[in-house]
Symmetry: C4
Subunit: 300 residues, 4 copies
Amino acid sequence: MSLFRLLPDKVDVIQNNNKPDEKGTLREWLYITIFQSSTPLGKLFDVLLSIAIIQNIGLLMLESVPSIGFKYGHIFRVLDYFFLFLFSIEYLLRLYCVKSTKRYATSFYGIVDLLAILPSYLEFIYPQWHVLMVIRSFRLLRLFRIFKMVKFLDESRILMFTFIRSFRKILIFLFFVVLLTIFLGSLMYVVEFEKNDGFHSIPQSIYWSIVTITTVGYGDVAPVTALGKMIASFIMILGYSIIAVPTGIMSASFMEQTKHLRMDIKCGNCGSGNHSADAVFCKKCGKKLVADAQEDDKNV
Amino acid sequence: MSLFRLLPDKVDVIQNNNKPDEKGTLREWLYITIFQSSTPLGKLFDVLLSIAIIQNIGLLMLESVPSIGFKYGHIFRVLDYFFLFLFSIEYLLRLYCVKSTKRYATSFYGIVDLLAILPSYLEFIYPQWHVLMVIRSFRLLRLFRIFKMVKFLDESRILMFTFIRSFRKILIFLFFVVLLTIFLGSLMYVVEFEKNDGFHSIPQSIYWSIVTITTVGYGDVAPVTALGKMIASFIMILGYSIIAVPTGIMSASFMEQTKHLRMDIKCGNCGSGNHSADAVFCKKCGKKLVADAQEDDKNV
Amino acid sequence: MSLFRLLPDKVDVIQNNNKPDEKGTLREWLYITIFQSSTPLGKLFDVLLSIAIIQNIGLLMLESVPSIGFKYGHIFRVLDYFFLFLFSIEYLLRLYCVKSTKRYATSFYGIVDLLAILPSYLEFIYPQWHVLMVIRSFRLLRLFRIFKMVKFLDESRILMFTFIRSFRKILIFLFFVVLLTIFLGSLMYVVEFEKNDGFHSIPQSIYWSIVTITTVGYGDVAPVTALGKMIASFIMILGYSIIAVPTGIMSASFMEQTKHLRMDIKCGNCGSGNHSADAVFCKKCGKKLVADAQEDDKNV
Amino acid sequence: MSLFRLLPDKVDVIQNNNKPDEKGTLREWLYITIFQSSTPLGKLFDVLLSIAIIQNIGLLMLESVPSIGFKYGHIFRVLDYFFLFLFSIEYLLRLYCVKSTKRYATSFYGIVDLLAILPSYLEFIYPQWHVLMVIRSFRLLRLFRIFKMVKFLDESRILMFTFIRSFRKILIFLFFVVLLTIFLGSLMYVVEFEKNDGFHSIPQSIYWSIVTITTVGYGDVAPVTALGKMIASFIMILGYSIIAVPTGIMSASFMEQTKHLRMDIKCGNCGSGNHSADAVFCKKCGKKLVADAQEDDKNV
């Protein structure tokens, strides 16, 4: 999640630094089209690339289904080569049009773009590495670019900031949950391991207690002794209750966020409220907005 | 959910436009009875129609149970014909009493009403289409009319607005969750597919990761390798934690809603608060209410 | 839940009306001891009765375990008779000491008390009715009396009021969820019933969709077709998202509750805040508290 | 959770009282290093001890895996002895350097430290007690010491206080849930026990109703009768709805906490807000901050 926050901004900075000096050249035109979405062509490129990525991932998925993969194997091979060619060209163009090739190549998206084509080349040498092509699914992160063009940007910013602000609290909670699952898993191992093959080792028991406390409950492992069932009941009720903790943290965090967005500034002229946080003039009567405290100040 | 919001209003508009010009005729009487619920007879029609719909859906359900369906097959057939006749009459009356037949026929509820009877007629030609009768369950949407007559209307309005307001944030969250399940599902495929028949393809692995991250946990597919169980544990704890995000969004949204309903207007005469948002006079002393900001204004 | 609210108060009223007129008699002493908890003996009676109820329920549970029930059958029979005798005496004493016997006998707790002993007497005539003794577990409601004596009363009041206030919103949500499960269950029946024995009828499919949307996920029924798995994934993500709705409703309701408890009254003399809602004088300096609005009023 | 709160502080007090009187001696140096983390060496000791504990627990887990445990049994035995020696030395040093040996030995951490080594010594006499070594996992609580050194301390304080404040409300909720599971479990026993081996006794049925109401849903026990499935559906929807209660409690509690941290103090000079609760001077213009109420006071 921390990646999620850092990347877009970091990449933006890299891109700005990477912007070639010459103006009006093919290189700059390519740069603007590929890396930015300010021009219609840039937007089109983003959309087409997103479609290509989705199609490629879709093909990889279908190929992995045995009944389809065996039947149309040759078609998938051809399409794999097609997308490999497409993404290779795209990668080379990206390398060409940025100012600092090294900087792009070592950036997060640079590595993701490389990883999307590398396994396919390695496959020529080691055919058994074909399965590595799933790494390509990381390219789906590029889809976040689409959000940049639409109104979703603000919302996703708010989501990120809110999550990051409460990240530390949630981490402590998760540490506590992990400790609990280790305790309870070890306990269940002692209680059940002689009568239940499912609890054959402590790691397995901890796996079971995670399955239980998160209320997932596969049922591949389940207690059989009376004491085991009582402890399991306790773990379930515990998991059912403590989910309130991260939820409460996030709720408070979102409320805080909402408050900051709609500050309690009211127009001193017409009394209308609910102005956005960055408003300077009243949206109803146009008079300059002043915060309440300053208003009171004048009274004194 | 967006349907839920748009439909009732849209339909109301259509109905008002559809209202026949003549007054006091059978056609207008029929229109008021069938489409509106302002008259006692209109209310009765709504209630009776709702009961008929529920009974019809109940019969369809019972008929699908093999042991009951085979035994009382002929009774079900007779009742099917009865409800087909009833709903056909209702549909024809609706077509007759509205001004613009075409407008009703192409409206949402018009199509739902048609779909409720069409499959039964098609069944005479293609008996294997009998299963299409489940489309009738869409008619249950008509039950929302009942809410119009009771106090639940305001509450459901608030629910809808709150949900719609936070819809975009929840959509981004869901997009993020879907990306996560694709990543983690692909990863699990690579880790498990050789040792576990359950993970036989990437789509199946993604299905498993959705089952896991939403804490449903059927257990029809479960990891068997040590690494797979570790990744699964991570996915479970992730799913258990990030459910806090939509919950936090909705909580903040409902809080915001509550705030708007009970504005901070306090009576300038007796100081009592908690007036409803549309109150003009104090509910305790009867003096005219003024918002705080205006109050301050006078001070200046 | 509505029962939970109404009962204690309703019973209190009944008790007060039922209080015998004579003072200082055995009947009044019994009444105070059995029905009230103001005297030490009354408290002792409540505690002892609670213990007896818990032990009785515990015995019923143990008796139902085949391995224990068969082995110690005669002990359980003796203990059953003992508790039958105890609760019969208690019921007769209750009938004796209240003023209006009929009123108590037809009150909620009166019926619960009767139901706790009636099946055991009927068992002498119809031995196969032994299983009806589980009705006794309703007597556990008497445990709520214990709360009356401790500080938990206020908290449980707040819990109840908050729940009741948002009950209507949650009901609409549940109605919507039930409609959804009927739609999606019917849809899954059409998709899966030919290839999957688990979806053998529409009610069964609706049962499955409830299991899925509530994220319970037993796994006794699971989709097998590709389309079925896609619909199932959609249902899971839906269920995972919309749980935010009741949670948001309750969060807003609890926040509202908290606000009412700690009104924004600040002392005009020393400026200290956080007074309880019913405070009239400042808890720090003892000066009379006035609401903000009145304070402003004086300025004018 | 109550343990979680009480322990660290309680131990701190014990340590301060236990601090030896002599200054500059080896005993005091040992005390500061082992019990405190104010010196670099003290911090190093805490980190090293944490690593040793984690490694020890990790070894215990690996040892319990049959395939690994049998193969490398002798290595595990040697490492067990090594950690036994290490923790024994540590325990003896702790006993030596505190002033009141008895006080430490009877404190919570004193008992945990003893329990970490005792089973290993007992194992020499009773080899079948080897499984008791899982008690060592309690030593993981020592990891909370690490938090003391980093910024997580404040956050975990807030988490604890918030949880404790709403603990009573959550307890009432859980009591209600437990009553519900007993009612519904008993009911399901009556409905299912003749046709379903899974519901062979009331305790088993209650176990099933806990599994269901907490949305865990193992699927090892599932209803088979139509009535049983209807009741199960009701329990699932109930569990899905009432999870909103603890979540709402915690959300309100966290909101309350947030409010206290960021009091509504605004600078009287520059009008900037959002000062931290303990701020005395404005972070923007440096003028002394006064609370709003006091500001109003001057007006009067």
